[in-house]
Symmetry: C2
Subunit: 281 residues, 2 copies
């Protein structure tokens, strides 16, 4: 496995692999890898591709009051884990390499970004789509892997790929969880031991919500309210949103008639966690 | 020369050419070809590339009160001219092929679009950058050719390519003019004989402005004012803008110290013409 920091190096290595007939997979990450990221890499590897993992904490997708500066980083450890997972190339650019001049160009996906995390993180998804466009042009992958934990991000990137005719297959990979159900996240490291224990309520209430639906509940308000009550009753978490939405386009149904995603964002102290569950009815 | 209407056909043909080691050039047009377009194609051909010309009147770059429906079209004649100029493939998609579903994704370049044609045609350049992104992803060219007549468009596309790391060289080709100096444009066909005669004032006042500058004039207001007086005095043209701007970034200088572009847009009846001249000082 190689680690490179320059765009020109990536291009050269990719060109060599493509000449050999290799298909290219991209796993875009912000580093501080956990099993969620590594599952993406392993799936890509299983397809027989040349696996490129980008590790870049992208300033463009952080708001002014967000956790850019404290976002955890550990390249050495990441490199070890990535190699074990079968990654062939780590692309770890500096901010100057990715944004050498003032960035004037933005890629925007409307509608899908106007809900859920888009409301509490204005500009976030424009930062994501812009940097993902850049990475797509640099790496020119055949496949790109995204975790289902950031489900809205996956839908937005998929929409961008369709609308702009990127010749890339976007693949979503199920959430990886701790034994007790907490979705893996680089931000979990910020939780105090108490918050860590409380945070298990997120996956629990999603599982319960699925049970309600399986038992016949179709009223969206009812489901959301039950989840809210459980979170507020059983933890110190401060709810950002709890939403039942169409899994296809994030539109808000009144009653459930199609596959839905139950999505939530909850703050424990200064740490904001997200989780979701897709339910096919 | 082949003419295809489907994105999948373009991808297949391009893949075949790339396998043979051919470099790909894209000449994006809205058709109704004139020598300006054909010069782009010929230059591309001289480089030994496989030349793809797109012919697509892109609804996204026309405002609600603009001339989308009357924009001139003549594919048969275009095909003949393109073949003579050395084009290898015409891509002539339908609106449904390019926008099969509601287009949610927009590529925006800030600042460069906030002047000149961007003011009188709000949304125009977002339509341009979005469709050019799509064409870039479909054709995956090594080179893309743009006419200098749409100088602002060239700067915006160049900025987009830099910011988003497209692996494409953007090439600007000088304006092609009629004998009397009128810049070639598909819209010239709408001019009445009188307007056609009057329109020569545009290239004339640009040439005069260059002479003023060569004689030592450095005051931007003075130069613009002289141009305005000539247009208003010698024609029925209604000025949209006359601007002296930095040729690099379109910023407005007070005095001229670096290469500048003198750009103008003037309406003759319902027909809006643009022209420009770059002056290196």
């Amino acid at each position: 496995m190689e680690i490179v920091e320059r765009i020109s190096e990536v291009r050269e290595i990719i060109a060599g692999q493509k000449e050999k007939g290799k298909r290219i997979a991209l796993v875009p990450t912000m580093g501080y890898l956990h099993q969620g990221h590594l599952t993406l890499a392993k799936q890509a590897k299983q397809k027989g591709t040349f696996v490129v993992m980008s590790i870049f904490v992208n300033p463009l997708q952080f708001g002014p009051n967000e956790d850019l500066s404290r976002y955890p980083r550990d390249l050495e450890h990441d490199a070890k884990l990535a190699q074990e997972a079968g990654v062939d190339l780590i692309f770890h650019p500096s901010v100057e390499e990715m944004y050498p001049q003032k960035n004037r160009t933005t890629v925007q996906v409307s509608e899908l970004g106007n809900a859920l995390c888009g409301l509490s993180r204005p500009g976030h998804f424009n930062g994501v789509t812009t940097v993902v466009s850049k990475l797509f042009h640099i790496v020119q992958p055949d496949y790109a892997y995204f975790g289902q934990k950031d489900y809205q991000q996956y839908l937005i990137v998929r929409q961008m790929v369709r609308d702009l005719n990127f010749s890339i297959e976007v693949i979503s990979v199920p959430i990886v969880r701790e034994e007790d159900g907490l979705a893996l996240s680089s931000r979990n490291v910020f939780l105090t031991p108490e918050q860590r224990q409380e945070a298990v309520v997120l996956s629990q209430c999603l599982a319960e919500a699925e049970t309600f639906i399986r038992q016949g509940e179709r009223n969206v308000e009812q489901i959301e309210e039950k989840i809210r009550q459980k979170i507020t009753g059983e933890s110190s978490g401060e709810i950002d949103y709890v939403e039942v939405r169409s899994a296809e386009n994030l539109e808000k149904p009144e009653v459930i008639t199609e596959p839905i995603v139950i999505a939530l964002a909850v703050k424990f102290g200064t740490t904001r966690l997200i989780d979701n569950r897709i339910v096919e009815v």
